[in-house]
């Protein structure tokens, strides 16, 4: 790469720029005040050349600092924590609970298995959906599922539905800084016998900030992440300070995953949304990718919360299907088994119908056109 003196640069520094079109060195042109490629003649402003030089960091390379300061480690809990002998799950109950069952494996949990206390949750959203409300929710969930096997549904499964407070980490932070994106604009035109497309390439620089509040990531490795992500969102207007009285009649899973372990998931989701927000400012440009990410985290904070979930599962032909219901909104998620016979029938029916319609219509048109 060539070097040239940039009058705008810090005194005495030499800067080297490379042509984004052909990769050849670019030199400063005193007449135009731009940098010009010695090979292809491409010209761009010094600002653009400098913007291209800016380095970025990896998407998840953020410094969250002392974000766990708000967590009450070793706080005084008026709950009991038990461990299931069968599956190892850690379960919290209020002090008055006499006996309960493990929400994961269904085994009885013995009170003598108490293992101690942990972090005191900051928040809790009390259950709003009662167990009796589950039946219509499940009926509605199964409704119009055309590939569901006829013999799958059994009311016995609902009887085993367990209300559980699932531990979540709430990640809060500000995201600020700059982002540069490769973008382009294309124009079509005709030139003699040729169809031409001219693509103008741009570097878009954006700087700004945004704040994320209470992004939930489940803090239990025993919970399926896809189930927990899918029952979002919760209505945070009903979030209240934790009180063990809300646990009466329910059990609570205890966190077994440190916030540090869940941070990458939170980072990925936040960055995707931050990119989307900045991308939305590109106007008529077609954004081709992120060139340099200089966003950074500020005012990072983490809170511990208990969110209400009903869990139940169904056994069907040797496979376990797990379902989760948002205990506040009633949103039910999970994967249903697929009847191969019904799938084949639907495929054959649609295929035959379309075949008859299309080939019949085309044949008729051909006959009429004779």
């Amino acid at each position: 790469m060539s070097e040239f003196y940039n009058p705008n640069a810090t005194q005495g520094t030499l800067e080297r720029y490379q042509c984004p079109s052909c990769g050849a060195p670019m030199n400063f042109d005193a007449a135009s005040g731009n940098v010009i490629c010695q090979s292809c003649g491409n010209q761009m402003t010094i600002d653009a050349a400098k913007a291209m030089q800016k380095p970025g960091h990896g998407d998840n390379d953020f410094n969250w600092g002392d974000y766990k300061a708000g967590l009450s480690y070793n706080g005084q809990l008026d709950t009991n924590v038990y461990q299931c002998h069968s599956c190892g799950a850690m379960i919290e109950c209020d002090a008055s609970t006499a006996a309960t069952t493990c929400p994961y494996c269904g085994n009885n949990v013995v009170l003598s298995d108490r293992v101690g206390s942990g972090i005191k949750p900051n928040y809790i959203i009390p259950f709003k959906i009662q167990k009796k409300d589950l039946k219509p929710l499940i009926d509605n969930f199964y409704k119009k599922k055309r590939l569901l096997p006829k013999d799958f549904f059994s009311e016995n499964n609902i009887g085993k539905a367990q209300g559980i407070y699932v531990p979540f980490w709430f990640f809060n932070c500000g995201v600020a800084g700059g982002l540069s994106m490769n973008a382009s604009q294309s124009f079509s035109y005709s030139e003699g016998d040729y169809d031409c497309v001219r693509t103008d390439h741009y570097l878009l620089e954006r700087e700004g900030s945004m704040a994320f509040d209470k992004l939930p990531v489940d803090a239990s490795t025993k919970m399926d992440d896809d189930l927990m992500d899918s029952i979002e969102p919760y209505d945070y207007s009903e979030l209240v300070p934790f009180n063990s009285a809300y646990l009466a009649g329910y059990v609570a899973d205890r966190f077994n995953s440190d916030p540090d372990a869940e941070l990458p998931r939170a980072n990925a989701r936040m960055m995707n949304s931050a990119f989307s927000a900045f991308r939305s400012t590109a106007g008529n440009y077609s954004v081709e990718g992120i060139r340099a990410n200089n966003l950074h985290i500020s005012q990072a904070d983490c809170k511990y919360a208990m969110l209400p979930v009903y869990l139940f599962h169904c056994e069907y032909r040797g496979k376990t299907y797990r379902y989760a219901v948002n205990g506040q909104t009633g949103k039910l998620v999970g994967e249903l088994p697929i009847s191969k016979g019904k799938a084949a029938a639907w495929f054959a029916g649609v295929f035959a119908g379309v075949f008859v319609l299309v080939s019949g219509a085309l044949s008729l048109m051909q006959l009429l056109g004779r």
Partner: protein, 289 residues
């Protein structure tokens, strides 16, 4: 004085340069049979005029006899006239004008409207083509709603033209022309075969497969309502997104050029119509080979 001479010389040279092309065009060679007055072609019928005019000398005596037999059959059965002409040049007339003027000025066509057909085969280097035209009462064979009949006769002759079997091509042409006469220009549709339904069946199979797969994937999607979260848009504090700086830097341009496909004749027939004075017009068409 010298200046005046020089100007005169330049003017003379310019005049010669300008008049050269038109002089060359005016002196373009015309065949002996070509009419002197193009605006007045009275037409006449000469039963002794040859119905096979082989200027290009592509037919053997045996082939000429076979062609003549089919011409006699056609003319007798349908009270028409027919002439086939071959040549190694079109005299810059183009195949349509060549065949038109040859027919009109050499005694062809049954009176009173000089009805009949001509098939002209040009072996002009770089412009090998054939052209067929119908005249008088039979003009309707290749005109109006029957214009596609040009394709019908061209399809009949084309394989022979490409294989160099010109005599059989002419005979095939005459026989197809006979069919057109028989059915007064409206050939009955050929019986349907499986091949006629190949496109509808394939379209039905393809469309059915694609739509059935789309429907099946939609139904399967209904059964799987779980996914790892990838966005956090719902957790952005409302109004917190502030754009403090925005700069768009132009870097470079690139151009891709794609040569446009020309919509050539692709073996299809070209068409033309002719009219001359107050006499009958003609319709026809042809292809290259």
């Amino acid at each position: 004085m010298r200046k005046t001479r020089f100007c005169a010389f330049v003017l003379a040279a310019l005049f010669i340069l300008v008049s050269l092309p038109s002089a060359a065009a005016a002196s373009a060679e015309r065949p002996a049979w070509f009419p002197e007055d193009l605006d007045s072609l009275p037409g006449f019928y000469d039963s002794t005029a040859p119905r096979i005019v082989d200027f290009a000398d592509v037919f053997s005596p045996g082939e000429e006899a076979a062609i003549q037999a089919r011409i006699d059959w056609l003319c007798e059965k349908y009270s028409t006239d027919f002439v086939v002409v071959t040549d190694i040049t079109t005299y810059e007339l183009g195949a349509d004008d060549y065949s038109f003027y040859f027919y009109k000025n050499n005694g062809y066509g049954v009176e009173p409207r000089y009805s009949g057909n001509i098939l002209f085969i040009s072996f002009e280097p770089g412009n090998r083509t054939w052209w067929s035209q119908a005249f008088g009462e039979y003009e309707y064979l290749f005109a109006g709603s029957n214009r596609n009949n040009v394709n019908v006769v061209d399809d009949a002759i084309e394989p022979y033209m490409h294989s160099g079997d010109y005599a059989d091509g002419v005979i095939a042409y005459i026989e197809k022309l006979g069919e057109l006469y028989e059915y007064e220009g409206e050939l009955p549709a050929p019986p349907l075969t499986f091949a006629d339904f190949k496109v509808p069946i394939l379209a039905g199979l393809g469309g059915g497969l694609i739509i059935a797969l789309i429907v099946l994937f939609m139904l399967i999607g209904e059964m799987r309502k779980v996914a790892i979260g990838s966005e956090a848009g719902a957790y952005i504090v409302p109004g917190s997104f502030i754009l403090s700086r925005s700069a768009d830097h132009y870097l470079y341009s690139s151009v891709t050029r794609t040569k446009r496909e020309k919509s050539g004749s692709g073996g299809g027939s070209s068409f033309s119509s002719h009219s001359s004075g107050s006499h009958s017009s003609s319709g026809g068409g042809g292809r290259s080979f």
